[in-house]
Amino acid sequence: MTSLAPTVVTTNKSGLRSALAWVGSAAILFVLIALPFVLKSYHLGIATQILIFAILAMSVDVLAGFAGRTPLCHGAIFGTATYFVIYGVNTWGLPLPVAMMIGVAAATAVAAVFALLAVRVSGVYFLLLTLALGLVIWGICLRWSQVTGGENGLRGDLRTGALADPATFYALVLVISLCAFFAMRRFVNSPFGLTLRGIRDSESRMASMGYNVTLHVFLAFTISGFFAGVAGAIYAVFNNFVSPSAVALAQSVQGLLMAIVGGIGTLVGSFVGAAVIIILEQFVSAYTERWQMVLGIVFILIMLFAPEGIVGKSRTLWHRRK
């Protein structure tokens, strides 16, 4: 894959470029930090939501972009954490941080089980198997109404005290999402992450070189599920409410779309993808009832003209301008 190549070339020009990249990153970070001082509570809520979904999209990207396995179950893993957090606080009377940890643990456990079942296959079979597994979770949430509240879902009372303030909550989510970003970036650039890219590019070669492909994919899946769980646990606090729509297929597709729109295999693209999709949804739906159609057309255009995603396309254009 070409993504490794630019780091090898060390000309003056690329030095300039990386300096520019640093300045750009610093500017973006500054904007992210400044947002609470500029935006009103509603828009800050949107920004918070973007960050939460960026974590979900990144977790999808770890698998889809780096291990070459496109999952359609991360919405279900995400929602598992959401359900556990609200149930934990409501029914078990746990303090919120403990409930969130349990939520993330539950999501990771679900991901591990899914991984055990799904590591055997790849390609379209992987897509279908993870889709089916996600639907199992959805089915449980819908039908086990004594516990999950069925169609009506569960309502919580989680956003109290300091968390009720949109700026504080945003700041907290910003810190968590940046931590998640750096952790996942470290993960995919680690030697282990490199083996994942190897598996993506040629599974048989990696196997013949003595790597335990199954184990590596299993671990990547579980770790990616952990991050989806983190996003889901924050979402519980954000929305104060959970229903089967949080674990539905649409949620998984949403996460995947965000990763694709931003740029698969870029991680940072997930922030862009989440921002584009959520802002478009907000903006377009204010003007027309047919906002879903507009979104659909935008997706088609992106796939036609920038199949590598917004960040991917910008990178290509950037490197071409030497």
């Binding site: 169609e151 309502r155 409410f241």
Partner: protein, 419 residues
Amino acid sequence: MINRRKLLKSTASISAVAASTVSFPAILRAQAAPIKIGLMAPLTGVLAAGGKELVEGFELWWERNGREIAGRKIEITVEDDASNPDTALQKARRLVEQTNVHFLVGNIVANTGLAVANYVKGNGVPYFIPVIAADDLTQRNRIPNVLRIAGYTGSQMTRPLADWSLKNGYKKVATVSQDYAYGHEMCGGFAQTFTEGGGQIVQQFWHPLNTADFSPYLGQLQGLGVDAIFGMETGADASRFLQQYANFGLKGKIPLISAMNVADQSVIRTLGDEPMDVVSCAMFCEGAQDEATKTFVGEYEKRYQKLPSVFGTTHFSGAMWLTQAITKIGGKVEDREALLKAVREVELKGSPLGPIVKLDPYGHPVYNVFIRKVAKREDGKKWNVPIATYPDVGQFWKYDPETYMKQPSYSRTFQGIKS
């Protein structure tokens, strides 16, 4: 129905008015600021048709009575909740935090309403729910700023029907219902009252939402030897159930009694003769002959070329209710306490919901309830006509509220059946 362009236009004219009043003292200008209402309805998704009728009903009232109360313009912002609770929550946030509406109205699907109710619980924004029927919103988990004006609960509606069934000589009944909270509540109300009155629930069938084929249930129902079958389906499920009930040859053999949704205009106007003679129970009956109903039905039909459904009717009455309350407080909707108090104190007269409607101390309306039957009007259109009336039916029927709320909420496993 207002579209967004019209809304923008009216906003423009309002700002023009505001500009021309610049010379007035600040306090007068503040008074003239519009009253902003956030109306949420599923305009896309499974309940889009119902959502459209909801907006139509709400809109008809303002068209008829002017968009101004106590010198303040009424500005309605419509948002699509997409029949999805996450979207509903998002849109409620937008209406409250960005559009700065003074209160929220609407939603159809229970989970969207529950999500929004949980949101306004935190910030105290008044929220009025003429369709959201989830029992506990005005019972075990009631929220002071959520009021069910012109609305109803599932279990409330089927209790008079159970009483009527007993008096009509039905002893053994089987129920067939959608398997979700609203269905559990509708069936629960029926099953509890029916069995407490000496009736027997032979069997209960629960089918998933969007069931295409009812023949497995109909086949079993046929052989049970029951006096009547109670059906609880909404939307497309109701249409399919009625069609298959007739196709299966059960129609005319076993009487069908049903939740109000099965015989609602939104369902029966799309069908042929299948829904004829179905008996249901509701606080509204489009074929009733009182003046208020006749006027409303006539105007609705003239405006939208169809008979009104429960969604349009409740939101028309809801708008009427709000108008009375806002007029009483002189348009000062910023004072939430005063607004909620005024809404609680309204005694609604001359609405299509009957001679007098008022809220009980729990924020739920008390009114006359009709047992109604699907019949044909002279022009061949099907509508519901009243065959009996139960006066002053509330959400607690004949039970003591506090004792009643100690029993669990209705679910698939708890139907209140007395053996």
